[in-house]
Symmetry: C2
């Protein structure tokens, strides 16, 4: 895949964020690597870099340069011969692919410790997500504001979701309430749900669901630790 001069083969044309159309689904792993490339590009821009290469991007993330090029090739050609990738342009292209070039209003259901932590999580706002309302069933919480976000009675979810044209919701309720919360979100017109409750939930086929299992990250860490320990 590497040209004889060791350079990445690139299009002479200005790169286009040509969107992947009907050529089959993009593997989930590719989409999740796009987020990693995006973070690294944002980091490079903050450090004053204007351009980068597939090998630089790959190296810091632990992927080969061929992997980086292959992943990006699903969506178009983004490099320039003799230059590499223009960071700002590739950031813009990846954000368009991921859909985060525009701001998404998001609601959260469940204002316990996790809900509060998510309301204060700076990483969401940085990437174009704005939590516009929180919901709970605890009367003592309703009407209060946390991190500037008002807490509403869960019964008002349909009304407020419609008012703000909300498509995305975050579940931060206990496991036992997760399924009914998801059903209320779907009934309120939401089409994307991020579930932090440590339980499997089901949604209709037209709704996207991503489950966040924080223990998975720790398991990846123990695997890495014991395999390093085994080496030494």
């Amino acid at each position: 895949m590497t040209a004889p001069n060791g350079r990445t083969p690139m299009s002479q044309q200005k790169s286009k964020s040509r969107h992947h159309g009907s050529c089959g689904p993009i593997p989930k792993a590719v989409v999740s690597r796009l987020s990693l490339y995006l973070r690294e590009l944002q980091h490079l821009v903050r450090e004053g870099h204007e351009t980068t290469s597939s090998s630089q991007l790959g190296k810091v993330l632990g992927f080969s340069d061929a992997q980086v090029r292959k992943d990006l090739a699903y969506f178009g050609q983004f490099g320039y011969p003799g230059i590499g990738y223009r960071c700002a342009e590739l950031i813009d292209a990846i954000k368009r692919i991921l859909g985060t070039h525009r701001q998404w209003p998001v609601i959260i259901v469940g204002v316990g410790n996790l809900g509060r932590a998510l309301l204060g999580y700076k990483g969401f706002q940085q990437q174009g997500f704005r939590i516009v309302a929180a919901f709970d069933v605890d009367a003592r919480k309703i009407g209060r504001r946390i991190e500037g976000v008002e807490i509403f009675d869960l019964a008002r979810l349909p009304e407020i979701a419609e008012q703000h044209n909300i498509k995305l919701g975050i579940i931060a309720v206990p496991a036992s309430a997760a399924q009914t919360t998801a059903e209320k979100m779907v009934a309120a017109g939401l089409v994307g749900i991020l579930n932090f409750a440590p339980v499997t939930i089901s949604v209709p086929p037209n709704v996207s669901l991503v489950g966040v299992d924080l223990a998975i990250q720790l398991e990846q860490l123990t695997f890495s630790v014991i395999n390093r320990l085994a080496e030494t």
Copy 2:
């Protein structure tokens, strides 16, 4: 890869959790799928199932049966002809591979909203992780207990890490304090760090680092949502 009778080719021997040795590194994506298989197997056992198949495991997780078999083949042969996988046995084998067949004591640094949420997160304990101590620099928090876990002065990290033989730590401090926190963890002998701060940190090569970027999960969701919306 499928035998003529449509069955998965399986070893006649009792499955062994033969550990992957010197045949090159296992792809990270394989290791992260092991966690997903483990969760689904635990779910099946709770529902009373004693056995399962690669196609059943794959179907519910959205992978092909060939993918499931290929992933597990990195680590040994776990199936029985005419039976499939014995859930309890495969759970045990995957836990040994991931290193979670034993309990890991974990410490957490930073007891803000996120730290408190993590102290109360049931998913860690379920998978063999026990948070044994929390640390903060805020004198008003030191000496208190949250979810039964005592909060210590961060200055006592080396002493308490040694006392409990702690290898794993969770960073739940603000982004600006994440790098120095990581350095203190490394100095205290920790070899695995889970970083929740929305910032890139660096650690020595002998230390494993997993960064949790919660916005990535939302980006995966927007990608999925906009691509479904485009279809309709």
